[in-house]
């Protein structure tokens, strides 16, 4: 049974976010010394129109069709990622990386953006085909492979930001498929060990907790031993190796992981972004009137740091409005996900939500120096055609899942 009317709240929220976003792209161009950025809002508007049309077109594809098409799309994505590694080129802050597919000197797009969607689909397919959620690490090999292959290809570009998004999607979808939280914790344990490695005491406490978890959850013996060993390696050996590296080598490694960071420059950028946001106050300096932005103190103000413009010009009120719109979008996605009439659709909906969520937290957190700088764009806000298109394609898929799902038509509900 399908409803005729699309999910109106979902579309309205996405429209509101897009209009808000394009206004901010316009404002980002309003600098004292005008640059090419001044005209980008027009390009972005064109992309917006294309993206909305594409979303409605995508919403005509049934979930069953998506299910059938997913493996092909996945294989195509992997091939494109390989092609990108071979002939790709960089752009903007990440000029040294290979993230853009360029054919004949024309930048076609970033296959990694496409991969976010196809990998979500493929992972949904793999997880939905299981009767029970994976209960041991060994059983996770299939989902891990689905995410792992494109992840490695993307990390080779290298693009740490998108890599983080994949990990977010992976964990979120495992959670939604019903994987036990203790198992999730065990999977995440090596990374947590790495993060806590800076303090011997903290790492020690975490290691004891991990041993307890292993004992409680009782994975297979080999798995348990392997897990403990990996944790020892990441928590103890990795920091020692790191210390042995010369500072320039450490920096090289960091820059390899994420070419957009240049320790000195990025530190300055984050400070200027914080100053812009902090100086906004309750109500901001007024639309297009932010001084930090006007005088180009805010870096990448039309893309990665566009939220700093929101903070400076519209103040805390504007920030809260933007974040509330995002929250509404996510709540709507959870609703759609929990009302989907089959596991595949439900997992897709949750995976798309996770992808957005990681983007928002990472991007917004970065502008306030709560997150490392990775060059992740803000959905619906950051200037960029393929990303706008990808975001709206996700909206289109959600519209379809919503239509096929349980519950009454939303227009009727109003």
């Amino acid at each position: 049974m399908t409803k005729r009317i699309p999910d109106v709240p979902l579309v309205l929220i996405a429209l509101a976010l897009s209009v808000f976003g394009i206004s901010m792209v316009y404002s980002a161009g309003q600098t004292d010394t005008m640059t090419f950025v001044a005209g980008l809002w027009k390009t972005q508007s064109v992309w917006f129109v294309i993206a909305v049309c594409a979303a409605f077109a995508a919403s005509t594809a049934s979930v069953r069709f998506l299910d059938w098409f997913t493996p092909y799309a996945y294989v195509i994505t992997i091939l494109m990622l390989l092609l990108t590694l071979a002939i790709g080129s960089g752009a903007g802050t990440a000029a040294s990386s290979k993230s853009w597919l360029v054919i004949g000197g024309v930048r076609i797009g970033q296959p990694a953006e496409l991969a976010k969607i196809t990998v979500t689909f493929m992972l949904a397919r793999v997880l939905a085909n299981r009767r029970e959620p994976p209960e041991s690490l060994l059983e996770l090999w299939h989902p891990a492979l689905v995410v792992g292959v494109p992840w490695v290809l993307i990390m080779l570009q290298p693009d740490l930001g998108t890599g983080i998004v994949f990990i977010g999607i992976f964990f979120a979808m495992l959670f939604w498929s019903g994987v036990n939280w203790r198992l999730l914790l065990l999977i995440a344990s090596p990374a947590i060990s790495l993060v806590l490695a800076f303090s011997t005491r903290l790492w020690g406490a975490w290691f004891l907790l991990l041993l307890g978890l292993v004992w409680l959850y009782r994975p297979y013996l080999l798995e348990g031993i392997a897990l403990v060993c990996i944790n020892v390696v990441t928590g103890v050996v990795a920091p020692i190796l790191w210390e042995k590296l010369a500072p320039y080598q450490q920096k090289r490694l960091l820059v390899f992981l994420d070419p957009s960071i240049d320790a000195k420059a990025s530190g300055y950028h984050v400070i200027q972004s914080q100053v812009a946001i902090g100086s906004g106050g309750w109500f901001g300096k007024g639309f297009t009137l932010g001084t930090q932005k006007r005088l180009n103190f805010v870096p990448e103000q039309e893309t990665d740091f566009i939220f700093a413009v929101v903070g400076e010009e519209l103040g805390f009120i504007g920030v809260t409005l933007a974040l509330t719109l995002f929250l509404a979008l996510f709540m709507r996605a959870i609703r759609i996900s929990s009302r989907a009439n089959d596991p595949f659709a439900s997992l897709i909906a949750f995976g798309l939500l996770a992808s957005w969520l990681v983007h928002v937290i990472e991007n917004v957190g970065m502008t306030l120096n709560l997150m490392p700088i990775t060059g992740i764009p803000l959905p619906f806000f950051s200037y960029g055609g393929s990303f706008m298109l990808a975001s709206w394609l996700s909206v289109g898929v959600l519209m379809r899942i919503s239509r096929e799902g349980r519950g009454r038509g939303d227009l009727a509900a109003i």
């Binding site: 019903g178 106050g281 005088l295 103190f297 974040l323 929990s338 596991p343 949750f350």
Partner: protein, 588 residues
């Protein structure tokens, strides 16, 4: 996956709670930054975009006693660059060097100024000629960080005539910046260097104003005026001096460029310095805003030492001008009076251990103190010196402030040389057995020996002779006269001394060739021995002798004989007194 509705709704609840927590955490972080720390960030944003451009205050004008301008300000231009880094400053200057002349030294100087204060525009041309400014103004659009300001430039209309006391202005040096006296100064500011400009820096300085320009992240000026309210510079009030420019110019014309001499003219009752000049002179206008290297070298290698001030820095044996000091001490001690004679008449010399000559080998015969002053008889004063004894002579000299600076309001005055006591000083210098107090007293009595005075300090002593025994501190800038009693002689004694000095500038005296028609000049010549070079010439005196209105001291290096100095001195007196009396005649 397990897709039981209950489980799904449980997971949805968990997801909603996590989302809610994340939302609250993120908004709190923004609340903290935007609301709680707003002021701090706002201040930082303002600091980011505004750059202070100093507006130099016009320095105070310096006037002579009649309101004639000694120092004023002409419109000048300073060119600065705002720059985010030393490298970009260098690049910008190199680019500018294609259109205007810029040397490597100027680039490095600008970089040093920038380092001292990176947020202030670095001055690249402190005193830019108008044609350079015109070229830069044309290219202003290509160089938005360029700041061209009209900056008052110091000018001395009578340049060389006032060089000896006015000083000059220039950019503050790094050493001066480190000085606590200049703690509120900033790099690139102009400051008085030497002379009145330095002594009265605090009054002449004025208050610097500030203008704000708005810059973008690259340090380019985006908005010039009106970015933020500016503070106007406040001009300093004028400084009126005691100098009589008419007399000062006359003095310079007398000395010309060939003599190496110093002249000072003081009003004896107030200490007001009417004229002060050291020859040869230089042009302080060329010092303003940086001394050209070739001019500096020229002045420093000139054997006549134009930069060495012969009035306040030069230190010479006072020679016979000192005989008035000896006379005053002896009269005050009651040992000799003006009509008293000495036991031995002058036969051209005096034997004390060895033979001490009188300048006149023929001898002066049996004469009184009055005649001894008129004719400057050495033999007479040898005997006065012996009567006084060394202790009383040293104590007397100290009482006459012969070991102190005159206190004139100019920097770099040299302290005179005079024994601090009659015993230890000589013991340390020559050993306890290496000297004979009598011989020392003999030498001191005629102004030779361990005694070297500046012209200005001798002039101060003569203000006491010209009045009632009170020495006036020489003052170039009007202030309350500071007079100190250094001699305790009766009115007739003082008058007697003055008349004896009038005899010097008479047909009887050593300076008879310096007489002036209609004015009684009193004074004393001096000829300081300076082997192997020609002797130095001194003359200290005042006029009119009956009621002195001007004390004049003249010192001529290698002048050979005192009357050379006397002729200059009496002309100065004549010029001053005739100029002063003239208006009185017309009013009558």
């Amino acid at each position: 996956m397990s897709y039981h509705p209950n489980e799904v709704s449980r997971r949805a609840t968990v997801a909603r709670v996590l989302l809610g927590v994340g939302f609250i955490a993120l908004t709190s972080a923004f609340f903290r930054a935007q609301v709680m720390r707003n002021k701090e960030y706002l201040a930082q944003a303002e600091q980011n975009r505004f750059r202070e451009v100093p507006l130099a205050a016009p320095r105070g004008i310096i006037l002579d006693r009649n309101g004639r301008i000694i120092a004023e300000n002409l419109p000048g231009y300073a060119v600065s660059l705002l720059s985010p880094s030393a490298d970009s400053l260098r690049t910008a200057m190199r680019r500018l060097s294609n259109i205007i002349p810029i040397t490597d030294d100027q680039v490095e100087a600008a970089v040093r100024r920038w380092r001292k204060n990176p947020t202030r525009p670095a001055v690249i041309l402190p005193d830019a000629p108008f044609d350079v400014v015109a070229v830069l103004e044309e290219r202003r659009v290509e160089n938005p960080s360029l700041i061209i300001q009209s900056t008052p430039k110091r000018y001395y209309p009578d340049g060389p005539a006032v060089a000896s006391f006015v000083g000059y202005t220039g950019e503050i040096t790094e050493r001066e910046l480190a000085d606590t006296n200049y703690s509120d100064y900033k790099p690139g500011q102009q400051i008085g260097k030497g002379g009145l400009e330095r002594s009265y820096e605090a009054q002449l300085r004025g208050k610097e104003g500030v203008r704000y320009v708005e810059v973008d992240a690259r340090g380019r000026v985006v908005r010039d005026a009106g970015a933020r309210a500016e503070e106007e510079p406040q001009a300093a009030s004028r400084l009126t001096t005691n100098i009589d420019m008419d007399l000062q110019l006359f003095v310079m014309s007398l000395l010309g460029d060939s003599l190496r001499a110093g002249v000072v003219a003081i009003e004896p009752t107030s200490g007001a310095v009417l004229a002060l000049h050291s020859a040869p002179t230089f042009d302080p206008n060329r010092f303003v805003g940086g001394i050209p290297a070739d001019y500096w070298k020229e002045l420093n290698t000139d054997p006549r030492r134009p930069l060495y001030n012969k009035v306040i820095q030069g230190r010479y044996p006072p020679a016979s001008t000192w005989k008035l000091a000896t006379s005053a001490m002896a009269m005050e001690a009651g040992l000799v009076q003006l009509d008293d004679h000495m036991p031995q008449p002058c036969t051209g010399g005096y034997r004390y251990g060895r033979y001490f000559r009188c300048w006149n080998h023929k001898g002066h015969g049996d004469i009184s103190l009055r005649q001894a002053i008129e004719q400057s008889c050495d033999v007479f004063f040898y005997q006065v010196g012996l009567k006084l004894g060394l202790s009383r002579m040293v104590a007397g000299g100290l009482k006459l402030k012969m070991r102190e600076r005159s206190g004139v309001d100019l920097p770099n005055e040299t302290q005179p040389q005079f024994p601090p006591d009659a015993q230890n000083y000589f013991n340390e210098r020559y050993g306890t057995r290496g000297w004979v107090p009598g011989s020392v007293a003999l030498n001191l009595s005629i102004g030779q020996g361990e005694n070297a005075q500046t012209l200005i300090n001798m002039a101060r002593f003569y203000t006491a002779l010209a009045t009632d025994g009170k020495a006036a501190k020489p003052e170039i800038v009007t202030r309350n006269p500071e007079r100190v009693q250094i001699m305790n002689l009766t009115e007739p004694q003082m008058l007697g001394l003055r008349l004896a000095m009038a005899g010097v500038v008479s047909s009887r005296g050593t300076a008879n060739s310096a007489r002036i028609e209609g004015i009684t000049v009193a004074g004393k010549t001096g000829t300081a021995q300076n082997p192997p070079n020609p002797d130095h010439a001194w003359f200290m005196g005042f006029a009119p002798a009956e009621q002195p209105k001007i004390v004049v001291g003249v010192f001529v290096e290698f002048g050979e004989h005192g009357y050379v100095a006397a002729r200059i001195a009496t002309k100065v007196m004549e010029h001053y007194l005739k100029a002063v009396t003239k208006p009185l005649v017309t009013t009558e």
